[in-house]
Symmetry: C2
């Protein structure tokens, strides 16, 4: 009997230990939505406009969408000519969820920008005419130290001009998709300025260095959705409706690009249709439509900002 | 009688000498219009659009005016974001009379540009955020060596991107009106690149250092006309009609500023009306009107370009 009691006690101990381990594992594995105070099956969405500062048309359409509540987060390109306009807006609207869209390329042809840092310190980032590279090819060598210097200059100019960013992300995903060294630059800047840098689990399979570079305190959101050039213009609303109806639990960033299909934007993007004026007008039209609001409601999708993610995730 | 003959001979000699001196003086003082092959009372006019490259709206309106024959010369701002668009046009239209509008200021608030040279080599030209100064105040110290470095970088970028300028001039007349040192920078660049730099006798009284800095081979045109903020919008056509009816003999540059009164231009210039979107639309409207063409004809005013001035004046 003593032996039985001893066995029972051992079993109880094992069960207790197992429960404790399980609880501990659950704490460790607490998902981002849970850290944010939601149930694990909650669908949280950041509706995020990219490329602010790039052109007046982008600024005007993005501000309109932010003010109408269609979009709840956005990020700003500091080297672009219209940065002062959006910086002025950000300064006078400190409640808006603005991040910095770290920029190492000047991807258009007729309308271009150079670096914020001194050109002779960031030569590997520049083309033969002194603009940020139009594109990176396999022969383009980007010096990570120069990238870091340039991006620090971008962040510093933003602060100096009154922007108080809530997050960082990367124009054309260059810092996520080009290799571990540039991703580590992004993480170093994120840590230094105490800002989350946009990374999602969706990218881990394609870019294994992301997971290995991230530390336990780095925010990683669950999913991202963005429309691609293979969607024909007439299928634009269908793509987004489908994406929202199939939204997975967790935190998702929906990356969109807003502008008006106007003279300035047409001229700036006329060499190709991708991410051009008409593309951005289609994004604007869908996200400012009542249909979009209705779908969020129907699908029980809650909006969340980077500010909330940064504030709450660090205290849990 | 011998004495009379002697006196007559002396008089003839004196008359001959006086005629020779007069002819020599006339050669030395041969006016620019005469050097250009016209009679001294000819009225030659450069209809010159400034600020190309500054915005798409400026480029579009200026190209339209150049192609319709309303305007026959223009100059380009290299540091501006839309420089690549106008450089591409200049490259594919080598017959057009394009100069470089040497730029040391970024005079707007919501839409700005930085230097072409490496920022840390031209610090005196930059404000605390790294843009070219919004304005120069009595406490702004512009280092002439840095100005020269920056302007050489502008000219070199223009050549590198396919522009073959016919002349140089100065945005906001900064190089003419700020003192001898900056004017000498302009002249050194003009000599080095073998291009005329826009100077007119009209400025000599206000800026005496101009005349003393100029050499005998520098082109100086006779007059310049530009509209000023004290002209009310409704008097715009009257100002120009009056100016053309009272045009003096010689070479005159009529300095105008073209753009459309559109969304981009309104946003870029919204902090003040001077040289703003509506101002530039009024210039566009007058100079593309049949009235302007008619007045040129009525007043027997001939158009001339900087290319013709540069080509012909150096061979006379």
């Amino acid at each position: 009997m003593h032996a039985m009691h001893g066995l029972k006690f051992l079993l109880v101990c094992i069960l207790f230990l197992a429960a404790a381990i399980s609880a501990s594992a659950q704490t460790a594995a607490k998902s981002l939505v849970e850290k944010l105070g939601h149930s694990p099956d909650a669908k949280l969405l950041i509706v995020h406009a990219d490329d602010l500062g790039e052109a007046h048309s982008v600024n005007a359409a993005s501000i309109k969408a932010l003010e109408s509540g269609a979009v709840n987060s956005a990020s700003i390109m500091v080297p672009c000519p219209w940065f002062p306009e959006i910086a002025d807006y950000a300064k006078s609207h400190p409640e808006v969820d603005f991040g910095l869209h770290l920029t190492l390329t000047s991807e258009r042809i007729y309308y271009r920008w150079g670096p914020v840092a001194s050109a002779d310190k960031v030569r590997s980032l520049l083309d033969e005419n002194g603009y940020l590279h139009h594109d990176w090819t396999p022969t383009t060598h980007i010096d990570p130290h120069e990238a870091e210097l340039e991006l620090r200059a971008q962040i510093d100019r933003a602060y100096a001009m009154g922007v108080r960013p809530t997050h960082l992300d990367s124009h054309q995903y260059r810092l996520d998709s080009t290799g571990k060294e540039l991703f580590e630059v992004a993480l170093r800047l994120a840590h230094q300025y105490k800002l989350p840098f946009f990374v999602t689990h969706d990218w881990f399979a394609d870019y294994p260095y992301l997971a290995s570079a991230l530390g336990p305190n780095d925010v990683v959101i669950d999913h991202t959705i963005t429309i691609e050039p293979n969607v024909p213009p007439e299928k634009w609303p269908d793509f987004y409706k489908n994406a929202l109806r199939n939204l997975q639990p967790g935190v998702t960033e929906l990356v969109i690009h807003l502008a008006y299909d106007d003279t300035e934007m047409r001229a700036a993007t006329r060499e190709r249709e991708t991410w051009g004026a008409a593309w951005r007008q289609r994004d604007f039209d869908f996200f400012t439509s009542p249909e979009f609001r209705q779908l969020l409601h129907e699908q029980n999708i809650k909006l969340i900002t980077w500010r909330e993610i940064a504030d709450r995730s660090e205290h849990n």
